[in-house]
Each structure stands twice: as C-alpha cells, then as structure tokens.
Amino acid sequence: MTARLGRRLLLVVPTLCGVLVAAFLLLNVAPGDPVQAMVGERADSATIARLRAELHLDDPLPVRFGRYVLGLLHGDLGRSYITGRPIAQDLAERFPKTAQLALAAMSFAATVGIALGVVAAVRPGGWADRLARLTAYLGVSFPVYWVGLLLVLLFAVTLRWLPPSGSGGLVYLILPAATLGMRSVAVLARMTRGAMREALASDFIRTARAKGASERVVVLRHALRNALIPVITVLALDTGSYLTGSLLTESIFAWPGLGRYVLTAIEKRDLPAVQGAILFMSVLFVLVNLFADLLYAKADPRIAYD
C-alpha cells in the first residue's frame, strides 16, 4: 500500500514538470502582449519598452523559464503583472470559494444521481427509470450557460426565492451548485443504473436473497456497494475538474473562484498568474485522482495494492 502510494507520488513529479513546460511554452508563443493590457489605450512606445524591460519580457525564453522555475523552487509563484499582488495569495483567496462550490455541486450530484440510478435499476421501465433517463438526456445536452440563466430567471427574478448571483450564505450556493452538478447528475444516474443492473443480476445477489436478506439490504448493502466502483471513478474525475474552477458557472453566478481568476488572467495576458493557476490546478487534479485510487480499495477490498 505505502509502496504503491510512494510510486504514484513519484509519478506525479514528471507529470507536473510536463504541465509546467507545456503551459509556459504555450502561453509565451500565444499572441497578445501583457504590457499592452497593462497600459491600456494610447500608450507611447517608450513606456511600453520600459515596462517590457522591467518585466524581463525581452529576455530569451530559456532564461525566463529558468527564472520562473527558480522562483518556484523557492516557493514563489511570482506576482501578477497587472495587479502586482502575489499570485499565491490570489489563489489562496479564491480556492476556498471554488472548493465550497465543488463540494456543494458534488454532494448534489452524488445524492441525486446515485439515488436516481438505484431507483431506476430496481424497477427498470418504471416511472423512476423513465425520469432518470429524461434527467440524463437533459443534463447532458443542455448547455450550462443556458440552464444557469434559466434558473436565475425562474428562482431569482420570477419567484424571488434565491439571489441571482454573488456569494454569501448557503442560499447563494443553491443555484450555482445545481447548475454545475447538473451534468454529473445525468452521468452518475446512468452509470449507477447500469452498474446496479449488472450487480443485481449476479450470483451473490441470488445468494443474498436465498439466505433471506431483506430487499433493502440486498440493494443497498450488496448491490450498491459492488456497483460503486465505476461511480467513484466518475465522481473523482468530476470533483477534480470542479475543484479546478468552473469558468462558466462562476461567471454566470459571479462566484469569486479560480475559474474566473484564470479567465481574467488569460484575457489580460497576465502570464505569471495563468502559469501559477495552471500549476496549482494540476497539483489538485493529480491529488484528487490519487485519492480516488485509494478509495477503490475501500469500496472493493479485492483491489489489492501490493
């Protein structure tokens, strides 16, 4: 177990190095100039030249990369070109908000999605099954932006039950979490249903029934537990992507998370901010996947980590 964990952790290092190099190269060959975003309209060439020198933008690419990596080794993500604020501090401010939203969206998706899937699997062709199928179609095919605006119109403008956007108490989480989790609900419901059907048809379920276990015990303890493996994979992947910020949902609901931070940074060509954010997100993503691997073992002891 420990050895496996250690090996997986070691593999993280080349992954992150790759991300670092790729992100740096891509950002620096992309068109657009951070200095132009800093000076806005009507700048003179002397100012632009001075700022480029100040930010070392005219240095050769390898030198700039070396400087950046050196900073990283000292634990320094650098400062934003645009605002001058430390990037680590910016990320630390935004991440809790993104995590909050990701957690809410995943809890919503897991509860609704798995419940729908289980109910659908128990009585295939029944009303719950049909509802689950409809939910899955809608959830996968409707664009997030459209659904988000529709929810705002219904619950915030017409019914006035919930605030349209912003952050604050729990009420502010409901609409963005539902919007963000919508796709996962759909996928989870379908996955759970499929896996449950398979599990319910297995020999061990017949054995469980034969020994007189109640239907609740059969479904929840025996079938669901075995059906959970693929579901956990999906959950982990989605959590990973939610934790790295969701651009659209955060923008619609004015949620102050990582997604919007990266979007603004990209628009302004704030290179160190984008690089720092990508690196941070990659670390998160890798860690979440690692965690999911460990969860498999918990759900199914047959998966042995030598």
């Binding site: 992309a30 068109p31 657009g32 100039d33 200095v35 132009q36 975003a37 800093m38 000076v39 806005g40 309209e41 009507r42 700048a43 003179d44 060439s45 002397a46 100012t47 632009i48 001075r50 700022l51 100040e54 930010l55 070109y81 645009i82 605002t83 001058g84 604020r85 910016d90 401010e93 935004r94 605006l149 705002v152 119109l153 915030a156 403008v157 019914l159 006035r160 039950w161 919930l162 605030p163 349209p164 956007s165 912003g166 952050s167 108490g169 009420v171 923008s251 619609i252 609901f253 004015a254 102050p256 998370g257 919007r260 931070y261 603004t264 990209i266 628009e267 302004k268 060509r269």
Partner: protein
C-alpha cells in the same frame, strides 16, 4: 408527509432573505464587470479601476456627469497667454482620509509617484506634458522641473508645449492626489474622495463608507457596495430582483426593457465611437478611393437600426455630436453601391479584392456588425474574411499593423474633441497610441498641434471641425456610429444620473427612495 408539506409552505419565506428589503440605510449597490486592477490611482489603466479611484480620490480638477470640467482640489487656476504655464490654487481646508491636510507637497509627490520609472502603472500620459516629466519617467532625470511649488497654496505646472486641454488631463484618475503617508499595498493609498474604502473581496465586492467630511458635502447614502458581476444578463436580473441599483440594459434586451421598464430607463449619447479601422498603409487600402468605396458600400443606417438595436447616432466624423466640434450634418457617405463600384474600378479593383476584418471574439454584438458589413461589401466585390480572435490578440494585431481592417470602439478619456482626433489620427500615435488606421497626413498633424495651442474655445472648435472634416474625406475608417447609452435606474433609488464619462459619477447625490 405533513411535516414536509409544512416545510414547503415556509420555504419561500425562509428563502426570502435573499431579496433584502430596502431600508433607508441599505447600501447603494453598483457593479463592475471585472475586478479592478487596483485602488492605487497610479495603476488606473482601465474603466473599472478608474471608476473605483473616482469614488475615493479627487484630482485638481474633475468632470461632472455631463462631462463638464469643474474645479476640485484646486478651486481656481490661471494660464499664461501662451498656454504653457498653469497655476493651480489649492482649495483651503481639505483633508485626506487620514486627517492630514492636502498640501502642495502632496500634489507634487502624487505626480512623481505616477511618473516613477519603477511604477508598473503604464498610464502616465496625462502627466507627461509637464516639462521634464518624460525624462523623469525614463529614469534619466532625478526631478521634474516643470512642477513648481508656489508657497503653501499653489502649484505651477509648466508644460513642454502649449496644451489647451491640459486641465482636462488632470481630471483623469491617474492624476488623483494621494496622501503622502499612503502605504505600499494598493488598498492603502489614501485620498480625499466622497467615499472611504472599507473592504475588498476580490471578484466579489468592494465596500465603501461615506466620507462625512467631504469638502463638497458628504454623500447622501451611508454606504456603497460595488459588486463584480461579469454576465450582463445576470446583472439585469440582479436589478429586477432589487439587488442592484443601476444597470446597463443588455443589447438583446433593449426592446423588452423599453416596454417593461420604460420609466426606469435613462438614455444619453455616449462619448464613444464604433468604427472599423482601415489600415491606410496596407495593400489596396492605401488608396483613398478604396476606403471611400467601403464607406459608400455599407448601409450603415440599416445595420445600426437592426443589428445594433438603433442604439446609436450615425457617425459623419469621429467627434461625438455632444462635444464641441462634433458635426452630424456634414455630407455623409450615403449608401451607394454603384458609386462604390465606380471608385473601386477607378482604383483598378474592378475584379474585386479580398481583405481581412479582425474582430474580438467575445464581443458578439460587434461580431454581428462585422457580418453585416461583410455581406454589404461582398455586393461590390470586396470579399471579407472575418478573423475572430480574443480581444487581446485582435488589438495586438491591429496595433502592429497586421490587420487590414479591425472593428473597434473608442472610449473618451476626457470629454474634448482633442481626445477623438489627436490619438486617433495623429501620425505620432500610430498603433498603441490609438491610431489603428495608421492614418498619416502632414496637414492634419499641423492642424492638430495648432488646436492644442489654441486657448480660445470657439477658435479651437472651428479647428476640430475642420480636422474632422478633412480626415472624414480621406476615409481612414469605415465610419459607423456613436453609441447611445441605455441604462436602467432601480425605483429603489433617486438622484442617479447616467454620466457621459466614466469618472463623472461620484454617487454623492444618490439615496434610497422613500417607499411610497
């Protein structure tokens, strides 16, 4: 189940806390579309930052909501006959938020920190006309001799060249006066403005409290919240839900809001141009006849009425009609495809030509305008390839002169004809300076300088009109329109007026409406 039903019945009231009830002391709520860069005037490069700086600081001069120049921390100023030396007298008794008095030394220091060669602000241009400022900003001089302190209550600013509009430059946010004891972090700069900074949750909201000792009378409301809301439709929803006090009406919602909320709306011609820069140094566009043909070939009034929802005034020049020198009566390039074809034939392009039109991918409205222009030009044999890139890449290409055509807008920095001529058409402001058309004409250049030297307003207006006319005939742009701003003011407030310039609204006269 009964318990559940009971829960359902109280749910709306539980959630109703979302739409807070208006009370007289509830904060005013304004918005920005993205997080401001900083609260330090020296870093004020964009509109959100400029608006936030305007709330908490004053300059020597300022603009009112209608864009008129007014005294601020300087209550009067004089100019020598050549327009080279300005003497600004400080208003007596004004104090910064940290209680220290506003002094001439603070004025000098405020300007020096903007010009500091180490500053990453990048927008020192309103102060660069001061004698010696350029050398100081470049790091080659240790002082700015053009700034001279006259005793305790006046500052003399001597310019390198006469500049009649210089007092308007000093109303820009970057020229705000900050307290000498300001801290190093951006939120620690201290001003004299009507509002005092309280807190800033990045990407979420900025909070301000009234400055009770404001020299021009304290704001009527106690506090002001500025929320950061990127999506325009959501902003509109926020106003309808009673959680935002003013909003720009989204383009797609124009008709709906005109019928639904007619009495909330305020409409004003904006100090803004929407235009397509034609690169005057590139290929076929070097020929004025081709550029004129483009102006004849596009049915601008129709595109304005349909694609742009009628929210604009057709442009016959670059100076907006509400500014001195603006002219909407001059003879226009009327829609005339036959004439366009003749001009193209005369230029040797009877067989047609292909040009690239660059647009910013995130601006959907201008994207549709670009498509309409493309379809009109196709009728006269000009094939347009639309290149959609993110705004930053589009600007970079246009600035470098790599785009044949680019659809752009130009926002006033200061309400004056000079701002719609000098940066846009002087050969000294190619590319990043604002002249995206790379228009170059020695006569225009000398007239522009003459206008800057002219102190008499009426004479300067005549010059602006003449320059605008001359440039219009040379057709460096495809002239489109001057947008008309359409905003909604919530019935929950009174006293807000739509400003024509971004730094013209200080929210001092706005308060919660008393419920009927």
């Amino acid at each position: 189940m009964p318990r559940f039903r009971h829960f359902l019945s109280v749910l709306p009231s539980l959630l109703a806390c979302a739409g807070e009830r208006p009370s007289a002391s509830a904060p005013l709520v304004y918005y920005e579309s993205y997080d401001p860069r900083s609260l330090d005037p020296a870093l004020s490069t964009d509109v959100p930052t400029g608006e936030m700086v305007t709330l908490a600081y004053d300059g020597l001069t300022r603009f009112d909501v209608n864009g008129r120049l007014q005294p601020a921390l300087s209550d009067r100023w004089t100019t020598d006959p050549r327009g080279l030396r300005y003497v600004f007298h400080l208003r007596a008794g004004v104090r910064f938020a940290d209680s220290s008095p506003v002094t001439v030394a603070a004025v000098r220091q405020s300007f020096l920190r903007v010009l500091d060669p180490k500053s990453t602000g990048g927008r020192a241009w309103p102060l660069l006309p001061i004698g010696g400022a350029r050398a100081y900003a470049a790091g080659t001089a240790r002082d700015v001799p053009g700034i001279e302190l006259l005793g305790d209550s006046a500052v003399a600013l001597t310019l390198e060249q006469p500049l009649a509009v210089f007092p308007k430059f000093l109303a820009m946010p970057v020229a705000s006066i900050v307290a000498p004891r300001s801290g190093v972090r951006d939120v620690e700069t201290i001003g004299t403005g009507p509002w005092r900074f309280v807190s800033w949750a990045h990407d979420d909201a900025l909070r301000y409290a009234r400055n009770p000792g404001y020299w021009d009378g304290p704001p009527q409301a106690e506090s002001l919240v500025v929320r950061i809301i990127p999506d325009q439709l959501v902003r509109a929803a926020e106003l309808e839900a009673g959680r935002l006090d003013v909003v720009e009406v989204p383009f797609g919602e124009t008709a709906a809001w005109r019928s639904r909320h007619a009495n909330w709306l305020q409409e004003k011609p904006a100090l803004r141009d929407v235009y397509i820069a034609l690169n005057n140094r590139r290929g076929a566009l070097r020929d004025a006849r081709v550029r004129q043909a483009i102006n004849y070939a596009v049915n601008v009034p129709q595109i304005l009425a349909t694609v742009y929802g009628g929210r604009g005034i057709r442009a016959r020049g670059a100076i907006p009609p509400s500014l001195a020198g603006g002219d909407t009566t001059r003879e226009a390039y009327t829609y005339d495809p036959a004439r366009a074809k003749q001009l193209l034939a005369a230029a040797g392009l009877a067989a047609g030509v292909t040009l690239e039109l660059w647009r910013a991918a995130d601006n959907e409205t201008l994207g549709r305008v670009a498509q309409a222009v493309q379809s009109d030009l196709e009728q006269v044999g000009i094939q347009i390839e639309i290149v959609a890139r993110d705004a930053s890449s589009q600007r970079a290409a246009a600035r470098a002169g790599n785009a044949d055509m680019a659809i752009l807008d130009w926002w006033a920095d200061y309400p004056d004809g000079d701002d719609f001529l000098f940066p846009l058409f002087s050969s000294t402001s190619f590319g990043p300076g604002g002249n995206y058309a790379f228009y170059s004409d020695a006569v225009t250049d000398s007239l522009l300088l003459a206008a800057r030297r002219t102190q008499d307003d009426a004479a300067r207006e005549r010059l602006y009109r003449a320059i605008d006319e001359r440039v219009y005939r040379a057709a460096p742009w495809l002239y489109l329109w001057f947008p008309v701003d359409l905003w909604a003011e919530s019935p929950r407030i009174t006293g807000w007026e739509l400003p024509v310039i971004f730094n013209g609204q200080r929210w001092t006269g706005v308060r919660r409406a008393t419920p009927p």
